[in-house]
Amino acid sequence: MNANLVGIAIIDIVFFTLLVLTAVAIIRQRSLFAVAMLSGVFSLLSAGLFVTLDAMDVAFTEAAVGAGISTVLMLGTLALTDKDEMKRKRSALLPLLVCFVAGAALIYGTLDMPPFGAADNPVQTHVAPEYIERTPAEIGIPNIVAAVLASYRGFDTMGEVVVVFAALVGVLLMLGTTGRPSGKRKE
């Protein structure tokens, strides 16, 4: 049991180290093309982490949407805007301080949380066992995540589709080719 936990910890820490290295590279990199690629790498690494945490469906989605579509959108934006980031004049000391204080507060908050991976955590004992128990009889497909997403929580998923539609309409209204003079706007 304990050896199992240590094994998971080692894999997690390897993935986490790679994630932090990617994030630091994003901080330091001034070429926006490299930043877009590194953000794709970050998404792919987090998909790997999701697999070790038993979340296959989330890993698939993160790899397809985070590493795929998101990178394509970034590259499209880069083609229409700048290639490099400007060096900033003001100091980054205050943001650093804010992040340290907020991070310390978050870590202090986790000290009271139930331990990672324990089967009797409050989050595991409420409604999740019911879904696992009822899915084979009521829905009849092996993937519980799909059953909850599409059937038990179908209305939530419809709400998600509405959000995506609203975002699509927003993007089209902002970037649509009709009704906007080509070239620079004159004020």
Binding site: A23, A55, G103, L106, L149, L168
Partner: protein, 139 residues
């Protein structure tokens, strides 16, 4: 000896949360300290992904497997509910990223730059510079 064993258990039970907090703060730092709007959006994405990791690690059961039915009654499954929630959140996240990037493109067309400092300077000129309209640009 027993003191040390308890401490190790305490750390193993919480290190995941600490790691994600550090990653989250890295994302926050990028968003706040960088002036480039595209880099700000990348920072927001990092922040968002580390929140996803926190949720997924809450649902993990040690010795459990992915919540796909095996037919064996003794199998322990991880909690499927955080997975469903985060699936929805990822898709909503990409939708908001797309809107953010579209805004960046429009800002570039209007101001000719995507650096926060230059945009603020331009806005200051519009309000108080030569030939500024009566009452400023936002009148």
């Amino acid at each position: 000896m027993s003191e040390l064993a308890i401490d190790l258990e305490f750390i193993l039970g919480r290190y995941n949360y600490w790691l994600f907090s550090i990653l989250m703060m890295t994302g926050l730092y990028i968003t706040v300290s960088r002036g480039n709007l595209i880099k700000k959006i990348v920072g927001l994405n990092i922040f968002q992904t580390s929140v996803f990791m926190l949720y997924i690690s809450l649902g993990k059961v040690t010795g459990g497997t992915a919540p796909i039915l095996t037919g064996d009654p003794d199998t322990v499954y991880s909690n499927p509910l955080p997975h469903v929630l985060i699936l929805t959140a990822i898709v909503v996240g990409i939708a908001t990223t797309a809107v953010g990037l579209a805004l960046v493109v429009r800002i570039k067309e209007t101001y000719g730059t995507i650096e926060e400092d230059e945009i603020l300077e331009l806005e200051h000129d519009m309000d108080f510079g030569n030939g500024a309209p009566q009452g400023g640009s936002r009148a």
